[in-house]
């Protein structure tokens, strides 16, 4: 664990007294301290292009009075700097007359080990694996024209000190390993991308030459795309494969169920609590408690232990995801969803691992049920306009379905739909729920946080496919 006051002229006791003095008349707030170490090693174009190490240290001081948030952050953990921040907060909240809410739930559960993945594997060994990846993929034939592979590792220590000196802390490991391969055949180029990761050591994912399966998957996607023909344009039936395609759930309903947008009534879901928003059989949860997953957290960035939050149960909207601020203003409790990218940012209610649970049907039944449509297996990213509810996501591997059979691969295309109504178009839910491989990053208000998604195969009766073939 990091000792934030070791090399500072500021003692913990002095910090506690500045915090208490600043927050006394506020409704909530805390000092958030963060020390992160991260590395990135990149192989590209046959060479180790980059090896970068970053160490980041800083604090963010937050005070909340009613709906107003005052925030100040700095890289310098010193008496002067904290006092200056305190003055800033006080000047914004001059007329605060609140009562500090000391209540914060406790839990002894931990969802990952206190390790530093960067130190667990030597630089030479990481470089060796990247070179092996390059050699392995380039041995697959002349059509392999470009290989990019990288390691990203991080250890982030956080400490939250609340009014009165209550302290909560967490040490979070995170790794990611990505491979991208570009193929060329008859002048046509296509890429395939795949990766794995989570809150464990590199070896948990890569031992026993496991990296080869990551390479094989990237290569397989690129090879499929080399044979792809133009995607169709227009409304049709869509079968989504299990796992990573659940970014549909993340975009279509996840963001719209975050507390802040619903408190402000700017989400298309704000007046739908308790109502039917999805077909029967559709249950969606947001879970921060799965061991070692990319989106899991022992405590959120306000110190609340995370939980498994049921968002939609058998088609009915049950809960929003809440941080402390929005929970208080909406007269409910935090779901442990308060997150921030780092100490430079304010807390927002965010997703963790968003999952649609398994149903009873098989993928084969779904494909059989489609006369004309597409089967989408792999995706790039997505985006949503939470107010109009319209969302998109980009296929990176998809096939046409003709008369109940999978046909030729089709080119990458954007799919667009309407969040509040799309889940009512789900007519079959598969029995094959799968987690994504651990590669997702969600962006909101300029802040990126690691997240996970999961779903079984699903059949959507009507969605617009943004191809070029009319």
């Amino acid at each position: 664990m990091s000792n934030f006051f070791k090399k500072s002229d500021l003692s913990r006791k002095e910090a506690e007294s500045i915090i208490s003095d600043t927050l006394r008349k506020c409704d909530d707030g805390e000092l958030y301290l963060e020390n992160s170490k991260s590395e990135s090693i990149l192989l590209d174009d046959n060479k180790i292009k980059n090896s970068n190490y970053n160490s980041d240290l800083g604090f963010g001081f937050r005070a909340i009075s009613d709906e107003v948030v005052a925030y100040s952050h700095s890289n310098e953990i010193s008496k002067n700097s904290l006092k200056q921040s305190s003055e800033n907060l006080k000047s914004t909240l001059k007329s605060a007359k609140g009562t500090y809410n000391h209540e914060i739930p406790k839990s002894n559960k931990k969802y990952y080990d206190n390790i530093n993945p960067i130190e667990q594997k030597s630089l030479n060994e990481k470089i060796r694996i990247l070179n092996d990846v390059n050699d392995y993929l380039r041995s697959k034939g002349d059509k392999v024209k470009q290989v990019t592979a990288n390691f990203l590792g991080e250890q982030k220590s956080v400490e939250i000190i609340r009014c009165g000196g209550e302290t909560l802390s967490d040490v979070r490991p995170l790794i990611r390993f990505n491979v991208s391969v570009m193929l060329e055949k008859n002048g046509r180029k296509e890429t395939g991308v795949y990766g794995v990761g989570g809150r464990q050591s590199y070896d948990s994912y890569l031992k026993d030459e496991n990296w080869k399966s990551v390479c094989d998957e990237a290569l397989r996607i690129a090879s499929v795309n080399l044979e792809s023909k133009p995607a169709p344009a227009g409304e049709m039936k869509v079968v989504l494969g299990p796992g990573w395609p659940a970014i549909l759930i993340h975009e279509a309903v996840g963001h719209g169920l975050e507390g802040d947008f619903n408190r402000k009534k700017t989400s298309a879901f704000h007046n739908l609590m308790g109502q039917k928003v999805a077909s029967e059989g559709v249950t969606i949860i947001d879970d921060g408690t799965i061991d070692n997953r990319r989106g899991s957290l022992t405590i959120d960035d306000e110190g609340t232990p995370t939980e498994k939050t049921v968002l939609i149960e058998n088609g009915i909207l049950k809960n929003f995801m809440q941080d402390r601020l929005n929970a208080r203003l909406m007269k409910t409790r935090s779901t442990g969803s308060g997150r921030r990218e780092n100490y430079r940012h304010i807390v927002l209610p965010r997703m963790r691992n968003t999952m649609m649970l398994s149903g009873k049907q098989t993928k084969e039944e779904m494909i059989k049920a489609v006369d004309k449509g597409i089967f989408a297996v792999s995706f790039g990213g997505g985006q949503v306009d939470i107010t109009s509810g319209k969302f998109v996501f980009n296929c990176t591997e998809a096939y046409e379905i003709v008369n109940g059979k999978i046909g030729s691969p089709i080119k990458g295309a954007t799919l667009i739909g309407d969040g509040p109504s799309i889940l009512k178009e789900v007519s079959m839910v598969g029995n094959d729920m799968m987690m994504d491989p651990g590669i997702g990053t969600c962006g909101k208000a300029g802040q990126g946080v690691p997240v996970g998604v999961a779903q079984p195969s699903i059949l959507i009766d009507k969605m617009t496919v943004g191809g070029t073939k009319l």
Binding site: Y53, S55, V392, G467
Partner: protein
């Protein structure tokens, strides 16, 4: 207050000195400080105040042709000692790359002109609040507006870039940014839109009421959208979307995409990639320009480039590393373009709307549907149906798709260029794209 040049230079030279002592044959360092203050309003009330003070340093060390880098926000010498030692150690263990090097000395910027990028004026939070009150009053005037969120940010930055070839320079920049996001609602629909202004100088910032009115009007007109059928149609891109097409062009001509072979514009130098009338400039020395700079992120001097001349691609965007690989000299584009723009076309906005009896005017796109390897483009879109030059009704839940290779050849530009962002385009018409809807 943002840290002064002397402090940053002292840190930079400390790092260069230490790197050399520890065995680096070359090194470069960037030290940056930025202080920004933001006030946010929501529904005409104070919502958030945010002060941010960011220090950062990044150091790259070379041992012959080996290279590695570190970065940190902790500038205490104790910490820098540990990090630089680690950096040099990592450099030793990193394989050689024959193209790794600092820039050629004769390409480094020699004189640094004052481009008028720093405004010393300070706008206190109370004054920001006054501006936002006026803005929000204008934005919420119409009853259909049910939520307003506005923001005012003052940012002051300073940096120093130094390397072991003796280069050491930097300068202050400032920006003042106001924005407003509004939500309009009626029985049938709820829509969101925004308006924004960002300037180097406080006095150049758009009037608060103008900004609020624009945000509200742009949102209200989106109410009651319809979905249209799938068809081949001419698309008119609003300036705020057209600039994104120019940005995609810029990533496709970056020397890294070209040298790696991952761009649909590889080997297209001196070939016609746009229609005849298209000229593209990247002009780093615009006074008060949002993308202006005296040198690139390696210290290489930057001249104005006419990237596209009468439709013909004339330059890639070249940095030192990829330049050496392509056997080309850096043209000072490490870190990308500066003030990038399409030169005005000769059609007025009204005539552009009238070019086709039916077209789509796009005001927003969502999704990341630009593939620079293949040139394929497919994104979600909202906008308006235009018939005989008139806006008929709002459209949403559609996608637009094409391939940049064809799209570039079919661009017609209006004559309404303005310098609102660092990358700018006049209103743009592209014939023959595919809309997917019902």
């Amino acid at each position: 207050m943002v840290k002064d040049q002397e402090f940053l230079e002292k840190k930079a030279s400390y790092c260069l000195g230490l790197a050399k002592k520890l065995g680096a044959t070359d090194s470069s360092v960037v030290v940056k400080n930025s202080v920004s203050e933001t006030v946010n309003f929501r529904n005409s009330k104070l919502d958030e105040s945010n002060r941010s003070d960011n220090l950062g340093i990044s150091i790259t060390t070379y041992i012959g042709k080996k290279k590695s880098s570190i970065s940190s926000s902790n500038l205490l010498n104790d910490n820098l000692n540990i990090l630089i030692e680690k950096c040099v150690e990592t450099t030793k263990n990193t394989p050689e790359d024959e193209f790794n090097s600092l820039p050629d000395k004769d390409l480094l910027a020699k004189e640094v002109r004052d481009l008028d990028l720093y405004d010393d004026s300070h706008i206190a939070n109370d004054q920001k609040i006054d501006y936002l009150k006026k803005l929000e009053a204008a934005a919420s005037n119409d009853k259909k507006i049910v939520n307003t969120e506005s923001s005012f940010t003052q940012n002051k930055s300073n940096f120093v870039l130094a390397n072991s070839e003796g280069f050491c320079d930097g300068y202050k920049t400032s920006s003042f940014t106001a924005s407003s996001v509004t939500v309009a609602k009626n029985e049938k629909s709820m829509e969101r839109d925004y308006e924004y202004s960002s300037k180097c100088f406080l006095k150049d910032l758009d009037d608060a009421e103008k900004l609020g009115n624009l945000a509200a009007n742009q949102t209200i007109r989106k109410l009651n959208p319809k979905k249209i059928g799938s068809e081949k149609i001419a698309i008119i891109f609003d300036k705020r979307i057209a600039k994104g097409i120019l940005s995609t062009f810029a990533s496709a001509i970056s020397s890294s995409a070209i040298s790696r072979g991952t761009s649909f514009l590889k080997d297209k130098i001196n070939q016609k990639i746009f229609s005849d009338k298209i000229n593209v400039f990247d002009k780093p020395d615009m006074l008060k320009g949002l993308g202006s700079r005296n040198f690139d992120s390696e210290g290489v001097k930057t001249d104005t480039l006419k990237l596209v001349d009468k439709g013909i691609l004339k330059h890639y965007l070249i940095d030192t590393y990829n330049g050496k690989k392509l056997n080309l000299k850096s043209n000072g584009r490490c870190g990308g373009t500066s003030n990038l723009y399409f030169e005005n076309g000769n059609t007025c906005f009204k005539d552009l709307l009238n070019s086709d009896s039916k077209s789509l005017y796009i005001t927003e796109t969502i999704g990341h549907g630009n593939n620079i390897v293949t040139g394929d483009y497919s994104v979600g879109a909202t906008g308006f149906l235009v018939e005989n030059g008139e806006f008929k009704y709002p459209i949403n839940e559609i996608t637009i798709a094409g391939n940049f290779k064809d799209m570039f050849q079919n661009i017609t530009l209006a004559n309404d260029l303005e310098f609102k962002y660092a990358t700018n385009s006049p209103t743009m018409l592209i014939e023959g794209m595919v809309v997917a809807g019902k």
